[in-house]
């Protein structure tokens, strides 16, 4: 369980980092190392070069401005989780992050690293999808913003080009009165979710309400539960609507039976978590 030979680079400037990354097609970006280092040790990843971005200037900033929470590439999970400003702007983030692995891992791992790793059962990608957030990627050709929905393509696969570094993630500030909830079930505390549901609800007089629902752990990427959203938005959260939404959500489960859960169970779980998430979000909505 030792990595194969690689070159290690620790640039200070972003353009240097991008050039180093572009200079070796097998190069990989190292940030917090919580997923990459185990993969290296297991030789599941064997890059010729590691571009360590922890010393790169300008990647450590966390700010809340103009309706957006901007998370620099080197912001550790724990920093985002514990920020009072972020908590005021978007309390769902802290609630969800309690489920992201364990405190030592959150202390080292980065938010953007988790997004780029793009595990289909991970919480942070699902939050970005739920909130219609985005990432900003810097490559040799310049900078581009990629919407969450376009960014996550498949389990462990994103729209980031091999020579791009994601320098920032953007989560929206929640509009006042938004009800929020996060419900997850994992077999052990801190594990990847067997299924998790995030919910954002803003009631509108006369409807339709603004409803966003997303799930992870159930498909090859985090998904929005569009049909359930629509049913709830248009039917004023009646018991029948809740039931119909939960039933509709079941079909979003495409993960096959695996060592941790059967598809049938995941469907049952997703439906149940959705009902709990909606109830909790409604209780917080004004």
């Amino acid at each position: 369980m030792k990595p194969s030979l690689f070159e290690y680079a620790a640039p200070r400037k972003l353009d240097e980092a991008v050039a180093l990354l572009a200079g070796d097609p097998s190069a990989m970006v190292l940030a917090g190392g919580q997923s990459l280092v185990p993969a290296l040790n297991l030789r599941l990843a064997a890059p010729g070069r590691l571009v360590d971005i922890q010393h790169v200037e300008g990647l450590h900033a966390l700010s809340v401005a103009n309706g957006w929470i901007s998370v620099g590439a080197m912001v550790r999970h724990r920093t985002l989780e514990l920020s009072p400003e972020v908590q005021r702007a978007n309390p769902l983030i802290r609630a969800a992050m309690a489920h992201v692995a364990h405190i030592p891992i959150r202390t080292r791992g980065t938010v953007v690293g988790s997004l780029c790793h793009a595990d289909a059962a991970a919480e942070m990608p699902m939050l970005l999808v739920l909130m219609d957030g985005s990432v900003v990627a810097q490559g040799p050709q310049g900078r581009r913003e990629i919407a969450a929905d376009a960014f996550f393509q498949f389990h462990l696969t994103t729209a980031r080009a091999p020579d791009e570094i994601v320098v920032e993630a953007r989560f929206p500030v929640l509009p006042p009165g938004t009800g929020w909830a996060f419900e997850e079930f994992a077999r052990r505390r801190g594990d990847y979710a067997l299924a998790a549901v995030g919910a954002l609800i803003r009631r509108r007089r006369g409807g339709p309400h603004a409803v966003a629902l997303a799930a992870c752990g159930i498909a090859s990427r985090p998904v929005r539960l569009r049909l359930a959203e629509k049913i709830l938005a248009e039917n004023d959260f009646s018991e029948a609507a809740l039931h119909a939404a939960a039933e509709a959500a079941r079909d979003s489960v495409t993960a096959p039976d695996d060592a941790h859960a059967t598809t049938a169970y995941r469907r049952h779980l997703l439906a149940g978590l959705l009902r709990r998430a909606v109830a909790a979000a409604l209780s917080r909505a004004q």
């Binding site: 194969s4 297991l42 030789r43 077999r187 052990r188 859960a261 059967t262 049938a264 779980l269 009902r275």
Partner: protein, 795 residues
């Protein structure tokens, strides 16, 4: 004895060192420029090897040697079958490096030795092995069917052993039964997952001809025997040391893993130290595992619930080889009647080869499976007869006056008939019921159901034959300079706290502080008579041996002190590290007594002057030592138990099952247990709690998953779920102390106890909680959320 440390809650001597990170594990042993080994392992569960080409690996910079089966000389053999038994036909064991065939994913095919582990792994990837994969069957029940692919062509239906034992007259009793309960239960494969994986380092000294091996093993004396025998060395020239070892749980009592022989061989051949530090993946695919059994158990009862006969047929998965014999199924089959009178028993098992990691004992060793079978069957019997689950047990538990209860015909793992020696089984059950509030639980359950909550109560009894022979020894010596007491024994510690409990035993005998008793284990140079750490035996077997040795030293110390102080032996009191004339201030330190009993020519300190020839106290008119006398305060004695001594206990829990998430929440967990006289209740509780944590692993989380090709698909700590501290509930432990009548200290083993009944308790509790949903029963552990969902959804 003015103070008594035996029975006291004394802090573990070893903890400060371990907690400060000053432990010395195999990987911490400083070696002069060592080489590092890595293995090429089979990626196939079953295949023929067409060819092995190691040329590229040998040419790789930094590689010292690459070994295949053609380059290991005397080691190219089937390794020893450790525990012969007539129930096995032509038992198959592993070769250190595969020759011709591979039998499980992870089996070593070649060993690379290089300047560092990185280079060794790089080169291992360059060894080109051409495999011809063969069909496999990993399902235990299908593996014994006609036409199933064979692991070994020599063994039809993959049957490695077949054994039947009978106690009483089951046929006659079954004919008289008024009710028969019949169920099938299954326990899946797990692994010990010690915190420190296995490790071996070796150094050969060409000047002295000595081979020193540091091995994270539970059995250094036996490893030394094998090394000397297979490598053709004098036993005295081989020293095996088990330094600090980070958990064993049985995985490290199995010997000989290929590396344990190949690493010393390479060190000798290459003239440089060599080390092999197993990584976690290798531990999953290369080090032994346990648990898979499928039982079909029948209880033949009277309508009162009294069980008059038991029949159990089961399959035991032994993996690709059977080096440890039938120890596990033998323990399971002889523990099958549990704590119950059941006078007529018929039990039969088949050991089945599967193309998987070999199976050897893991903490519990067949007892969790046997307990799961009998306890689940009793719950079912209660259900069918409309009896309370406590009541059905009351009607069958062995009563206090019935001990010893002999099950003639059932030979336990020590080759002797099962004899439950002592206990207060009924009292234990009553204590559990009381502490758990069992009487009022039905009402609580009903109330909760009204609120849509599903609560359940589960319970399970267990017995554990502990303290198996053949023997262990103890050597106790008072050091003449410091007065500190050194103790040696042949078995080893993997974190249990032996150094503290053995010190307590000695401290009381000699009247010294526990901290002044230094226990050294696991070094064949220090003590090389004995067996190993397994079967919850250290306190029983080594404990009594050390106790006897300490008593001999005590007698010597008293006699010598009486002589020095010119009083009768009866007047001497040993306390505070000295011998005192009772009722006076006259005393002499134990160090001085130790010195005085050693006739000296040279006076190296004040105390020594008294022992020299011309000193007034040195009164003798013949030889300084009379015939039969030995110098110093020192003794060695041995203890060989007459048979296993049976510990027992009963666990119960209150559980809540969430029908939405299918999560199981443990609301309360109570353990009532009896391991005889306790040497140190704190250490006992540590053992019990650790066992219960592993029990929860087996009940709800841990299962080695194989795909249909025999690949282990969760061989890592992300996917193989060991309960975290957050998953292990608070446990209430109640102690009963019924001394064992079989040994002087009255102790019974406790190392494995905690893990044994947990699966049965959890299944019982979940089943009770979900009864109103009309779900299927729970007879298969670990119980996953998907299984709960399937039971409730009826799919």
């Amino acid at each position: 004895m003015s103070t008594r440390s035996f029975g006291a809650r004394i802090r573990r001597n070893i903890d400060p060192k371990l907690l400060r990170g000053e432990g010395s594990f195999v990987d911490d042993i400083p070696l002069p420029s060592p080489l590092h080994a890595a293995f090429v392992r089979s990626p196939f569960a079953r295949a023929r090897i067409r060819s092995v080409d190691a040329a590229a690996a040998r040419a790789h910079p930094g590689v010292a040697a690459v070994y295949t089966c053609d380059e290991i000389g005397a080691l190219d053999i089937e390794l020893p079958q450790l525990i012969p038994h007539p129930s096995m036909t032509d038992p198959r064991t592993q070769r250190p490096l595969a020759r011709g065939d591979v039998f499980h994913v992870g089996q070593p095919v070649a060993m690379v030795v290089a300047v560092d582990r990185y280079t060794a792994e790089d080169a291992a990837a360059l060894v080109d092995v051409d495999y011809d994969p063969l069909p496999v069957e990993v399902d235990l029940e299908r593996a014994v069917m006609d036409g199933a692919p064979l692991v070994h062509a020599t063994h039809p239906n993959n049957v490695a052993a077949h054994f039947r034992q009978v106690s009483g007259d089951p046929a006659r009793a079954m004919a008289q039964a008024e009710h028969v309960t019949r169920i099938r239960v299954q326990v899946d494969r797990s692994t010990a997952a010690p915190m420190e994986c296995r490790a071996v380092a070796a150094m050969f000294d060409a000047v002295t001809g000595e081979l020193t091996v540091w091995d994270g093993t539970q059995a250094p004396i036996s490893v030394r025997g094998a090394l000397a025998s297979i490598l053709g060395l004098d036993e005295d020239k081989v020293r095996v040391v088990a330094p600090d070892v980070g958990g064993g749980f049985g995985q490290k009592v199995y010997q000989f893993y290929p590396d344990e022989l190949l690493v010393p061989m390479a060190a000798r051949a290459l003239g440089r130290p060599v080390k092999y530090i197993e990584d976690r993946r290798e531990n999953f695919i290369g080090s032994s595992q346990e648990r898979t059994q499928i039982h079909e158990i029948e209880l033949h009862a009277r309508r009162t619930g009294e069980v008059i006969a038991l029949r159990d047929l089961f399959l035991h998965d032994t993996g690709a080889f059977i080096p440890y014999g039938i120890a596990i199924p033998q323990v399971a089959s002889t523990s099958i009647a549990g704590a119950y009178r059941i006078p007529n028993i018929e039990v039969e098992f088949r050991c089945v080869y599967t193309p998987t990691v070999p199976v050897t004992p893991y903490r519990g060793c067949g007892r969790p499976q046997a307990t799961f079978a009998i306890e689940r069957a009793l719950d079912q019997l209660a259900e069918e007869l409309g009896l309370d689950r406590f009541e059905v047990r009351r009607r069958n538990l062995v009563a206090d006056h019935e001990f010893p209860l002999l099950r003639s015909g059932l030979l336990f793992a020590d080759g002797l008939p099962v004899s439950l020696d002592s206990g207060q089984y009924h009292r234990a059950l009553a204590l559990l019921a009381e502490r758990l509030g069992a009487a009022g639980f039905a009402e609580e359950q009903e109330l909760a159901r009204g609120q849509g909550r599903y609560l359940g109560l589960g319970l399970a009894f267990y017995v554990e034959g502990t303290g198996l022979g053949p023997y262990e020894g103890g050597h106790v010596r008072v050091h003449p300079i410091t007065g500190k007491v050194y103790v040696n024994t042949g078995l080893t510690s993997q974190g249990q706290g032996h150094d503290t409990v053995f010190a307590q035993i000695v401290a009381d005998q000699l009247g010294v502080a526990v901290e002044d008793v230094i226990v050294v284990e696991g070094d064949t140079k220090a003590f090389d008579w004995g067996v190993a750490t397994f079967a919850s035996r250290a306190a029983v077997v080594s404990g009594n041996a050390i106790h006897q040795s300490a008593a001999l030293v005590r007698a010597k110390a008293i006699a010598a002190a009486a002589n020095m102080l010119e009083v009768d032996a009866e007047a001497i009191d040993l306390r505070e590290g000295a011998a005192w004339v009772r009722g006076t201030n006259r005393h002499v330190s134990l160090a001085a007594v130790a010195t005085a009993t050693n006739p000296l020519r040279y006076a190296f300190n004040e105390a020594a002057k008294a022992a020299t020839q011309f000193a007034p106290a040195s009164r003798h008119d013949g030889p300084a030592l009379r015939p039969g006398e030995h110098p110093g305060l020192e003794a060695t004695d041995y203890y060989s138990p007459p048979c296993a001594t049976w510990a027992y206990g009963v666990h119960g829990g209150l559980f809540e099952v969430d029908p939405v998430t299918c999560a199981v929440k443990v609301l309360r967990y109570v353990c009532v247990h009896d391991c005889g006289t306790m040497i140190n209740p704190t250490i006992v509780e540590g053992q019990v709690l650790g066992g219960i944590a592993q029990g929860f692993g087996g009940a709800l989380y841990e299962r080695i998953e194989f795909d249909e090709d025999g690949n282990p698909i969760n061989a890592n700590f992300v996917d193989f779920l060991i309960p975290y501290a957050t998953e292990v509930p608070p446990v209430e432990i109640l102690h009963l102390e019924t001394p064992s009548p079989l040994n002087p200290l009255g102790v019974k083993g406790v190392g494995e106890a905690g893990c044994i009944p947990v699966g049965a308790v959890v299944a019982s509790g979940i089943e009770d909680a979900l009864r109103p949903l009309g779900g299927a029963p729970f007879r298969h552990v670990p119980i996953t959320p998907s299984m709960i969902h399937a039971a409730v959804a009826g799919t």
